[in-house]
C-alpha cells in the first residue's frame, strides 16, 4: 500500500506485540534459570506420574470426544431423524458449562450420600457401601468423562461443518461408482472430514491440557496442577517455568497437528454451496435410536447440570444473593470490560498497521500478539509473573540502594497483573475478529480516501472504524465473555482478597458447597451462552 503511516504507529505496534509475546519468552528464559533443585526433586518423585496422568487425560478426552462428536455430527449433518433441528444447536450448549460445575454436580449426584446411590440402596435393600460396587467419580476416568462432556462440542461443531461443506457431488460420484451410502461415508466423507476432526481433536487436547479446575477438584495431579502447586507451594518460579516449558512442548505438537489439518482442509472442503443437502432417510427405529443418543448426551452434558444449578440457586437464593455476590459480579464485570476495551484497542492498532504497512514483516506483530491464546491459563500466569516480579524486585532493590523503603509489589501483586494476563491470553480473539473485518473492507476505499486527501489517522476514524464497528463489537463481546469465565489465570494472578465470579464459584466447588455459589455459576453459564447463540446464527446463515 502506498499510504504511509506516522512512525509512531509501527513503533507502537511492534512494542505492544513484543510485550504480549514477552511471557512466552520469559518462560523459556526462566526455565534455564536456577530453581534450587525443585524441578529435579519433582522429577525424581512425582513428576513421572503427573506426566502420565496428563497424557492419559488428554488422550482419553480426545478419544472420547471423537467417539461422541463425529457420529453425532454426521447424523445431524447428513440424516433425517426426529428432533434433528433442535439438536443442531442444542448439542453446542455444553460448551457454556464450566467444567468444574459439571464435575461438582456429578460428584454430588453420584457420591455415597447422593440421590442416585441412595435410590439404588433403597430399591435393592442394600445397607452399606460394602453391599455393592459403585464407581467413584473423583478419579482419572471421571475427570476424562467430565472434560469430554464440556469439550466434545468442538469436535461436533467442526466435524459437522466439514460434513456440510463437503461437495455433494463427491458422495454422489462415489455412489455412481458403485458405493453404498455406508461405503461412501467410509471411503469419502470420513477421510475428507479427517483434517477438520484433527483440528477439533487437537483443540480439545489443548483445552484439556490447559484444564486446571477439574483435575484439581478431583485430586488428579497433572502438569497444570503441578505448575500451580510449585508456584503457590514451593514459591519456585523457575521450577514452575520448567513445568510450563514442558507443557509448551506438548502444546507445540498439538498445534502442529492443528496446522497440518488446517492446511489440508483447504483442498478438502470447497463446496460451492449451490446445492441443497440430500439427507439420508433413516428407518424409524434407527432414527429414534439416534434421537435417544443425542438426547442422552444433551441431558448428561447440559440439562442435568443446568437444572441442578437452577434448583440449588432457588433453594439457596437468600444465602446466595448477598453483598459478596454483587461485589464479585461487579469485579468480574469491570475486569472483563477493561480487558475487552484494551484488547479491542490492540486489535485495531495491529490490524490497521498490518493493513497499511508495506513491509515484508508487517504481519508479524499480529501473529506475535496472538500466541497467548494457545497458552494454558496457569502457564500464562507464570509467564506474566516472571517479567512483572522482575520489574518489581528491580524497582525495590533500586529504592533500597538509595536507602529508602521500597514501594512493594506495584505490578505483580495487583490488578495490573491480572489485566495484563487476561490481555495476553485474549488479545488473539480481538485481533482475529478485527482483522477479518478489516479484510472485508475493499482496498480501493483506502486508495480513494488517500486521493481525496485524507491522512491515515483521519481515514481510520472516518472510513475504517465505521466499517469494522461490528467486528470490534463482536471482538469486545467475545473477550468479555472469555474473561468472565477464565479461572486458572485468575487464581494465580489475583491480588490478595480479590475474587471474580469464576474464582468465587470455584471456591465453593472445592469446598463442596456449590449451593451457595449456584447463582454465580448460572451467571457464568448464561454469559457463556451468548457467543453460542451468535455462532449458531452465523452457521445457520451459511447453511
Amino acid at each position: 500500500m502506498f499510504i504511509k503511516l506516522n512512525k509512531k504507529w509501527p513503533a507502537a505496534s511492534w512494542l505492544l506485540s513484543f510485550l504480549i509475546f514477552l511471557p512466552l519468552l520469559a518462560i523459556v528464559w526462566q526455565s534455564f534459570g536456577h530453581d534450587n533443585d525443585v524441578f529435579a526433586h519433582l522429577w525424581r518423585t512425582v513428576l513421572p506420574d503427573y506426566l502420565l496422568n496428563t497424557v492419559l487425560v488428554v488422550f482419553g478426552v480426545a478419544l472420547l470426544s471423537m467417539l461422541i462428536g463425529v457420529p453425532m455430527a454426521w447424523f445431524v449433518a447428513m440424516c433425517h431423524f426426529p428432533m434433528r433441528r433442535f439438536f443442531v444447536w442444542a448439542m453446542l450448549l455444553p460448551l457454556a458449562m464450566p467444567s468444574y460445575v459439571v464435575a461438582f454436580v456429578y460428584t454430588d449426584l453420584l457420591e455415597y450420600a447422593g440421590p442416585v446411590q441412595g435410590a439404588l440402596r433403597e430399591f435393592f435393600g442394600w445397607q452399606s457401601a460394602a453391599d455393592y460396587a459403585f464407581f467413584d467419580v473423583r478419579t482419572i476416568g471421571g475427570a476424562i468423562v467430565m472434560l469430554t462432556l464440556v469439550l466434545y462440542p468442538y469436535v461436533y461443531l467442526l466435524a459437522r461443518t466439514a460434513f456440510l461443506e463437503q461437495s455433494q457431488t463427491l458422495a454422489q460420484s462415489a455412489r455412481m461408482l458403485g458405493c453404498s451410502p455406508w461405503q461412501s461415508f467410509k471411503r469419502i466423507s470420513l477421510p475428507l472430514a479427517r483434517p477438520a476432526i484433527a483440528v477439533a481433536v487437537s483443540l480439545v487436547a489443548m483445552e484439556t491440557l490447559a484444564d486446571f479446575a477439574v483435575v484439581h477438584y478431583f485430586a488428579v495431579p497433572t502438569l497444570t496442577t503441578a505448575v500451580y502447586d510449585t508456584w503457590l507451594g514451593y514459591g519456585s518460579l523457575a521450577a514452575a517455568a520448567r513445568l510450563s516449558a514442558l507443557m509448551l512442548a506438548m502444546l507445540f505438537i498439538l498445534i502442529s497437528v492443528e496446522r497440518l489439518g488446517r492446511s489440508k482442509q483447504r483442498h478438502y472442503q470447497r463446496n460451492t454451496g449451490q446445492e441443497a443437502i440430500a439427507r439420508y432417510a433413516l428407518s424409524p427405529a434407527k432414527g429414534w435410536g439416534v434421537t435417544l443418543f443425542c438426547l442422552t448426551i444433551f441431558s448428561v452434558a447440559f440439562l442435568v447440570p443446568f437444572v441442578s444449578l437452577i434448583e440449588m440457586a432457588i433453594s439457596y437464593f437468600d444465602e446466595s444473593w448477598n453483598d459478596q455476590f454483587i461485589e464479585y459480579s461487579y469485579n468480574s464485570f469491570m475486569l472483563a470490560s477493561t480487558v475487552a476495551l484494551v484488547c479491542v484497542f490492540i486489535g485495531v492498532l495491529l490490524g490497521y498497521f498490518k493493513r497499511l504497512s508495506q513491509g515484508k514483516y508487517s504481519a508479524v506483530p499480529a501473529k506475535l500478539a496472538s500466541t497467548g491464546y494457545a497458552l494454558p491459563g496457569t502457564v500464562l500466569a507464570i509467564g506474566v509473573l516472571i517479567p512483572l516480579s522482575l520489574f518489581d524486585h528491580g524497582l525495590n532493590n533500586l529504592w533500597q540502594y538509595f536507602g529508602e523503603e521500597g514501594p512493594g509489589l506495584i505490578l505483580s501483586g495487583t490488578l495490573f497483573a491480572m489485566i495484563a494476563g487476561y490481555v495476553v491470553r485474549f488479545s488473539a480473539i480481538a485481533i482475529g475478529s478485527i482483522e477479518s473485518s478489516f479484510n472485508k473492507v475493499t482496498p480501493s476505499l483506502d486508495m480513494v480516501s488517500a486521493t481525496l486527501g485524507m491522512s491515515p489517522l483521519k481515514m481510520l476514524f472516518k472510513v475504517h472504524l465505521p466499517l469494522v464497528r461490528k467486528g470490534c463489537f463482536a471482538a469486545a463481546l467475545l473477550v468479555f465473555i472469555e474473561s468472565m469465565k477464565e479461572l486458572p489465570a485468575a487464581l494465580l494472578l489475583r491480588p490478595f482478597n480479590y475474587e471474580t465470579l469464576a474464582t468465587y464459584v470455584y471456591q465453593f466447588v472445592s469446598d463442596e458447597q456449590l449451593e451457595h455459589g449456584a447463582l454465580a455459576a448460572i451467571v457464568i453459564v448464561v454469559v457463556g451462552l451468548v457467543p453460542l447463540i451468535i455462532l449458531n446464527r452465523s452457521l445457520e446463515q451459511q447453511h
Partner: protein, 344 residues
C-alpha cells in the same frame, strides 16, 4: 439398440413441477445434448436418470431394465452409470490413479492396475498418475473424471455442464478430445449444457428444453433450419419474424415483398421466420430500409436495419448478415434468398 428410454416422465421438487410429461429415447452410441436455459429442468432430468432424484410419474429404462418409476427407484450404485459433474467431483484425498481405480473394487489388483493404466493412456495423463487433483489443471481434472467414469465401464455416460469451468481457449479442443474418447469406447452419453455452441460441437442430437418439456429433438442442422417453434428458433440463433399480410398460392406477401413458401396445412400461421443470412443487401439510394448499426464479426458483418417509414413501417427492424460493410444511415434494399422457409 436402445440404450435409454424415458416415458411420460414427471418430476417435482415439493410442489414445483420441474419435469412434465417428458419422453426421450437414446439409441446406439449417440451423444444427446439437453439444451436449455438454466432452471428448465435439464439437470433434474440428468439426476433422475442417475437415480439421484425421485420420479413422480412415468418410467425410465436403462437398456431393457426398468430403473425408475413412481413406485420404485433402483439405487444409483446399481445402475452402472458414469457421471461427470460440473465440478468434476474428484476425490481430493486420492491421487489421480486412486481416483480412477475407485470404482474397480470387484477386479483383482492386477486387472485394476491394467485398467487404470489403459485409462491413463487414453486420457493422456500417464505422467500425472501420482498427482493429487489440486496439483493438476482444470482440463486435466476433467480428463481424470472421464477416465474414472470410463474405467467403471458404464452403460451410459451422463455429463452435467462439464465444460463450463474450462476457459474458452481450450474448451473446443477438450470437447473434441472427449467426444472422440466416448466414440472410441462406444459409450452413449447424455450431456447437459446451456450453450448451443457446446451442443453443436459435442453432441450428435440436441433436445431443446422448455419448462420441463422437450420442445424439439433432432440434429443441430435440423433444429436450426426447421425449428418447430419460435422458442427453438430463437435458442438456435438470431431470427427475424416478419408478419404475413396475405397468403397466396405458393407464396406469402409481406412488407418485404412476396416470399416463396408452401402454406398448405399452415394457413393459420402469421409470421415468417428468417435468419440474418437469408437476406441479400443491395445499396439503393431509394431503398426502403436504413442501416442503424453495423457490427464486424470476422467473416461477415451484422447490420441492424429499420424500415424507412414509407414502404416498411419505421417500427420494423431486422438483423441482416452481409459480407460487405454498409455505413450507418445508408439506404439499402433487401431481398430474401430462396430456401425452405419456416413460418409459425
Amino acid at each position: 439398440m436402445t440404450k435409454l428410454v424415458i416415458n411420460n416422465l414427471a418430476c417435482r421438487y415439493d410442489d414445483h413441477v420441474v419435469i412434465d410429461d417428458l419422453s426421450l429415447t437414446l439409441e446406439n452410441n449417440d451423444i444427446i445434448a439437453l439444451l436449455g436455459p438454466s432452471g428448465c429442468g435439464k439437470t433434474t432430468l440428468l439426476r433422475t436418470i442417475a437415480g439421484l432424484h425421485a420420479v413422480h410419474e412415468g418410467e425410465i429404462h436403462l437398456g431393457d431394465k426398468l430403473v425408475s418409476s413412481a413406485k420404485m427407484m433402483l439405487e444409483s450404485e446399481k445402475r452402472n452409470i458414469g457421471m461427470i459433474f460440473q465440478d468434476y467431483a474428484l476425490f481430493p484425498h486420492l491421487t489421480v490413479t486412486q481416483n480412477i481405480a475407485f470404482g474397480l473394487t470387484k477386479l483383482t489388483k492386477g486387472e485394476s492396475e491394467q485398467r487404470v493404466e489403459a485409462m491413463l493412456k487414453l486420457v493422456k495423463l500417464s505422467d500425472f498418475a501420482q498427482r493429487f487433483p489440486h496439483e493438476i489443471s482444470g482440463g486435466q481434472q476433467q480428463r481424470v473424471a472421464i477416465a474414472r467414469a470410463l474405467a467403471y465401464q458404464p452403460d451410459i455416460m451422463l455429463l452435467d455442464e462439464p465444460f463450463s469451468n474450462i476457459d474458452s481457449q481450450s474448451r473446443g479442443e477438450i470437447m473434441m478430445e472427449i467426444r472422440q474418447i466416448l466414440k472410441a469406447q462406444n459409450v452413449p452419453a447424455v450431456f447437459v449444457t446451456h450453450s448451443k455452441d457446446e451442443a453443436f460441437a459435442f453432441a450428435d442430437k440436441l433436445a431443446i428444453f422448455n419448462r420441463g418439456k422437450i420442445e424439439q429433438i433432432g440434429t443441430a442442422q435440423m433444429l436450426y433450419q426447421q425449428p418447430s417453434s419460435a422458442y427453438v428458433a430463437n435458442f438456435m440463433g438470431k431470427a427475424n419474424y416478419i408478419d404475413i399480410i396475405s397468403v397466396n398460392e405458393g407464396c406469402v406477401s409481406t412488407q418485404f415483398g412476396d416470399i416463396d413458401v408452401d402454406m398448405t396445412n399452415k394457413r393459420t400461421n402469421t409470421v415468417v421466420m428468417l435468419r440474418p443470412e437469408h437476406f441479400n443487401i443491395t445499396p439503393d439510394e431509394s431503398g426502403n430500409l436504413l442501416i442503424k448499426s453495423s457490427v464486424f464479426c470476422g467473416s461477415h458483418w451484422i447490420h441492424a436495419l429499420e424500415g424507412n417509414g414509407v414502404e416498411i413501417n419505421s417500427g420494423i427492424s431486422i438483423e441482416v448478415q452481409s459480407e460487405h460493410h454498409y455505413p450507418v444511415d445508408a439506404r439499402v434494399a433487401v431481398n430474401v434468398i430462396a430456401h425452405d422457409v419456416v413460418t409459425f
